[in-house]
């Protein structure tokens, strides 16, 4: 069963623990500038929004890659960049409508979320549950539950 990263921006406080954890997992260095998840702050609205790859099924990045450096991890469903194949042409960064695959100046390759092999460091590091890793078929479960709770049904007549 695949799982998906599920993001609830309302719970995000903007602490960037996710960015730090992501960079440590992938580079061994605490370095938010190399994180594959990014928290955006909309100051005048008081909103913080963590944003990363949603692992499209028919992925633009994967389809655009001229050297087949982006492949599906069968275990997790993650679209994974193979560094030894990637030539750093950045075509995928143009193709992705969401901007969640990016070039890394240090490695000369592109990088994107790979779900950490099935145990995403960002979700583990999030102190508020704004980032969770849930059943891929039920990313809407929390919202459904919240709306269901509003349904005006009396317990007893």
């Amino acid at each position: 069963m695949w799982k998906s990263l599920h993001i609830d921006p309302k719970k995000c406080t903007g602490c960037l623990q996710c960015e730090m954890a992501c960079s440590v997992e992938h580079t061994g260095v605490i370095n938010p500038s190399k994180s594959r998840i990014k928290v955006f702050s909309f100051e005048t609205e008081g909103r913080k929004v963590p944003y990363t790859c949603t692992q499209c099924t028919d992925a633009w990045c994967l389809n655009a890659c001229p050297v087949d450096a982006i492949r599906i991890d069968a275990a997790t469903g993650a679209k994974q960049v193979f560094d030894d194949v990637c030539v750093g042409c950045k075509v995928c960064t143009i193709a992705c409508p969401f901007g969640t695959i990016n070039y890394n100046q240090d490695s000369g390759k592109v990088q994107k979320c790979d779900l950490c092999g099935g145990d995403p460091a960002c979700a583990a590091a999030c102190p508020t549950g704004a980032i969770t890793y849930v059943d891929a078929d039920w990313t809407g479960l929390d919202k459904m539950r919240a709306w269901a709770a509003k349904a005006n049904t009396a317990v007893t007549e």
Partner: protein
Amino acid sequence: MAWNRKLLRVNLTAGTCTSEPLNMQWADEYLGSRGLASKYLVSEIDPKVDPLSPDNKMIMSTGPLTGTLASTGGRYTVVTKGPLTGAIACSNSGGFFGAEMKFAGWDMIIFEGRSPKPVYLYVENDKAELKDAAHLWGTSCWHTEEAIKHELQDPLVRVSSIGLAGENQVLFGCIVNDLHRAAGRSGVGAVMGSKNLKAVALRGTKGVAGVKDMKAFMKITAEKKKVLADNAVTGQGLPKFGTQVLMNVINEMGALPTRNHRDVQFEDAGKISAEAMHEKRPTDGKPQLVTNAACFGCTIACGRISEIDKGHFTVVNKPEYWGASGGLEYEAAWALGAANGVGDLEALQYANLLCNEQGMDPISFGATIGAVMELYEMGVLTREQIGIEAPFGSAAALARLAEMTARGEGFGKEIGQGSKRLCTKYGHPELSMTVKGQEFPAYDSRAIQGMGLTYATSNRGACHLRSYTVASEVLGIPVKTDPLTTDGKPELVKAFQDATAVFDAAGICVFTSFAWTLADVQPQIEAACEGDWSMDKLNAVGERIWNMERLFNNAAGLSRKDDDLPPRLKTEPAKTGPAKGLVNGLDKMLPEYYQIRGWTPEGVPTAETLARLGL
């Protein structure tokens, strides 16, 4: 190592930026941030220097845990000689600026001299340059941050800057980073202004590479984050209510200084409390509080993001204040509210916004207004002198005086000198609620006795963050002590002072100490930093920092006589509440404190003490 081992020295007179190796011997003795920057300051300046002269230096510094996953590891410190107090000034701030300095590859930045014209420092990893700031001078912190991001074409740059208050050398001017976090106290913004330094803009992409044992560090920091999450204060109270959770508690205790400390309880405390910030306003149906927010790496997230009532008289036709922005913390709500008898939550938020926008310490500003209002009610200050009527409780006066002070208009210039200079000028120095010239924060020491000693002995003037004995005396952390007696307080204050110095030096937030003791911090430092970082060593680091600051202050001309409280707190008993009839027992606590510290009866560290601490 969790240090970058590198500092940036900026000579503003010559316009040069040079890289230097960090003195690792000193890092071993003073850890970082407050401790290490203070060591550099006391080694490089004459203690008698005029704080606003080019001979003073200003240091911005991170600690070894700054920029790491240790919860709250995002803090940086500004150390300089303070213009408000003439003592060592050390003011720290959260937000994201400190971590960025670390990511750019620097541990600290030392500013010296004075630029012939307004400049800002731009650091991009190893590159550092001074850039012209003529077009930014005369503008707010908010405008400066936005303009710098625009002109550098880099939305990810982190900026700290001074507003009009720092430029005008308001003696409680602060340095604001990330729009609403501030190195708030002791007038560090005025020093920055005196150097013609408008802002510092940082961009770092190197990260923190040198954590000693990353695996152990990840494990221990995760464990300690859980301690914060499971604690009622750091896990529930602070995220939901912010520091404002204290307003009603402290008022009930009769420890909420009201109307320039004439009273110890405020009848409108409920109207300016955390609970009030959560309540929907009758005017627009929205609560003032929009959400909570975290500083870098903080898993507590006590920060307040608020939206002012657009129809309130203070902001009608001023859309620049209508968006969500930094909201009221307990200290600001007290200083702008109870200290002046003002119970209008929206007016408080307006004054708070002005403090953030133009870079003023809301504690010292609000407390000075309290003194102005008392002098006005006594007839010492008149409407003609002030320019407006200024009785206690006037929201209109609070709002107008905030504008005048930030902009240096009319009587605002005098308010900008702080309450000590203002009250002295008008013949009533006894009405200045200060120690060493710095205004009290939000705890009345008649009802929380240990705080009297905390204030009197704080090395940066009256301050709650140097030994927050409220934790013990009110909240029972780590052990409950009786707030109404002086017994055991000298020992408590010393222990808190030394431990807090280590929290500050590490680069983490002192609010973690609601849940963490030094024993929780020690293994995080141990995993991050090379060398031995035992509890014994850290305790010695804390005590060493405290004594080093004291030695600087003594050399600057301060002495036992400056370790004192205003007569009001020692002779006018609390009128109401649990402490009714009590004054602060400082005179009983101080000699014992000196003795426990290993100082002479005159407050000078003895030769034995200095030798023991390697000073």
